[in-house]
Each structure stands twice: as C-alpha cells, then as structure tokens.
Symmetry: C2
C-alpha cells in the first residue's frame, strides 16, 4: 500500500471518529512524524481530505478540521435529500426484488439485532442497505456523490450518538423504503426516503441542541 493512502485512511478515520477534534491545526510536520511517512505523501492525503470537505484550508495556511454545527448538518441533509430520494426512485425502477426482500427481513429483525449484537451490528445492516441502493442505481457518478454525503454523515451521527428509541424508528422507516423498492413503487420509495431523512435530521438536531445547552451550562 502506498504511504499516501495509508496516511489518508488513518487521518480520515481519526477525523470521522472525532479522535481529532474540530479546530485542531493539522501541521504537516507533526502528522508526518506521527504517521511515520514523509511530508510528500502526507500532503497528498491532506489534499484529498480537503477536497472531500473533511479538512478546511480556507482559513489561514494550516488546515483545520471543520466543526459540525446545526446549520452545516441541516445543509448536508438538504443535499442528502436531493440525492437519496432520487436514488430510491431509481433503485425501485431497477432493483433485484430478492435483495430488498432480504433487507426487509433484516430491518424487521432490527430490534433483536440491536439487543443481541449492539449498535454496530445495526449500522452494518444500514451499510448493506446503502450498498444495495448503489448496486440497484447502477450509476458510478451517483454513487460517488452519495458516498461524499455519507462520509460527512458519519461525523454528524457520531456526535448525535443515536438513542435506541430513535434507531428502532429508523429501522421501521428503512423497512418501509425497502418494501417500496422491492415492489417497484418509485413514488413511495422516494417519499418514504424523504420521511426518513426528515425524522433523522430532527433527531440529530435535537441531540445537538441538547448538547449545546449542556455545554453552555458548564
């Protein structure tokens, strides 16, 4: 594996998992030393992250990790709604029914999965759902656009720290989407996706607000 890829993946992982806090200056020299690569491949990694929006180079010379504000999450979801409602519509048009039938069952079992195997097991099912959508849409450019949005979503989700009650509702919403796609009902798939995204956004913003006021009390 190339050193630049290694640096990219490590940095990306650090940012998405909040190991690097927003606002932290990303010094090339320091990071290169920490990751054990020279500055040249590290610069390439930083450039990739900057183009993905995970590093903000607009302020000053040194890149920093942008913070996750309520406004930025709301903007992200506006873009996400544009992409995912259309993706659901296209998926319903071109899907393999068996794939989504299987996902319907997975989401119906979500309560058990969550209780037995924890939150990561649930997110694994969601990841499978995303991959099924990508495959059904069958459009590389569309997939890349969706991936970009999902990347940023990971950060927002980790911050919001989804509560089990919300996850159970989300599983139900996902099940509805899968049923619509399985049945080839484009309009319903699109609408059900919109419903899910609005509910998710509301939940995340509520968590963010609660956290913000908690920080304020301190």
């Amino acid at each position: 594996m190339r050193a630049s890829d290694l640096a990219y993946e490590r940095l990306r992982d650090d940012i998405l998992s909040w190991r690097i806090a927003p606002g932290t200056p990303l010094s090339e020299i320091e990071l290169a030393a920490r990751l054990g690569v020279s500055r040249t491949p590290l610069r390439a990694a930083l450039a990739r992250l900057a183009l993905e929006g995970l590093v903000d180079t607009s302020r000053g010379r040194t890149g920093i990790v942008p913070d996750v504000s309520a406004a930025s999450v709301a903007e992200l979801f506006e873009l996400r709604e544009a992409l995912e409602t259309q993706a659901a519509r296209l998926a319903a048009r071109r899907r393999d029914p068996a794939v989504f039938e299987s996902l319907v069952a997975d989401f119906a079992r979500a309560s058990d999965t969550l209780a037995a195997s924890g939150i990561d097991a649930y997110y694994e099912v969601v990841a499978r759902f995303d991959r099924a959508i990508d495959e059904a849409v069958g459009n590389p450019a569309f997939r890349i656009a969706l991936d970009g949005v999902r990347t940023h979503l990971v950060r927002a989700r980790r911050m919001a720290a989804d509560k089990p009650a919300r996850l159970l509702r989300a599983a139900d919403e996902h099940r509805l989407i899968c049923e619509a796609i399985r049945d080839g009902d484009e309009a319903l798939a699109s609408s059900a996706t919109a419903v899910h995204l609005r509910a998710s956004l509301t939940a995340i913003l509520a968590t963010l607000d609660a956290r913000a006021s908690q920080e304020g009390i301190r």
Copy 2:
C-alpha cells in the same frame, strides 16, 4: 499564485476544451516540462483532477482523460436531475424575485443575444442563471455538488456542439424555470427543470449518435 494552482487550472482548461483528447496518457514528467513546474506541484494538480473525475487513474499507473460516452452522459444527467430539480425547488422557496425577474427578461432576449453576440454570450447568461440558483439555495455543500456536475457538463456540451435551434428552445425552457422561481412555485420550478434536463439530454445524445455513426463511416 501557487505553481500547483497554475498547473491545475491549465490542465483543467485543456481537458474541458478538448485540447487534451480522451485516452491521452498524462505523463508527469512531460506535463511538468510543458507547464514549467516541477513534478511535485504537478502531482497535486493531477490528484485534484482525479478526484473531480477529470482524470482516470483506475487503469494502469498513468492517468488518462476519460472519454465521453453516451452512457456516461446519461449517468451524469441522472445525477444532475437529482440535484437541479431539488435546487430549483429550494431556490423558489428562498429567491429574491427581482433577480429572477431580470433573468426572465434575459432569456426572453436570448434570440437577439445569440444573433448579435454569438454563442458565448448566451452561455454567459446561463452562467448567470447558475450563479443565481446557487445564491438563492444558499447551501455551500449543495453548491459544491452542483459545481462538480456542471464541470463534467462542459465537456459533454462542447462535444455535442449545440445547434442554434436547440439553444433557442433551451432559452425558453430556462425562461419557464425562472418564472416559476420568481413566483415561488416550487413544484413548477422543479418540474420545469426536469423537462429542460430531459430535452437537453435528448439533444446531446442525438448529436453523439450522429457523430458516432459519422466516425463509423470514415
């Protein structure tokens, strides 16, 4: 200006204007010599272009300019429809009516503009339309996504070499979109955008087909 930015802009311009033909191997050494920079900033430029999809690094080690196929254009328009129909909807919700009233007049005059000042003057109006949409939407993440799609569209459009008859129809379609946005009619703005995109795609694919069969005859 940084050498890497210079190399990026020059290369990007060369690719978008078809001065570099699809399939051409992008040798770092040769390009660095031609642009008068060293390989380090040139590599950064190539990396940026690769992430934008203007350079394909998936095949072999040397990057090449991807070609514009009918399939890739159709895929691009699927993504474009997802973004622009939603952008039109959001723009209708938040617009400054005066801005789009002015654009309505511009597109109504398009026939004269085209006859008097040529095709570039018409595309300048379209660029103003795009900027008005961006401003009305007011969502940085959305704007970045739209910019990415528009970049690829430039290549497809240059290849298709729009005919005046099509441009006049396109101006009419744009006028309809602007009227809907001006009036705050979200549903109509979205639908009118979908109509315009489908017509544009059909025109581009027809030109591509004609060119393909012409190449076949040779």
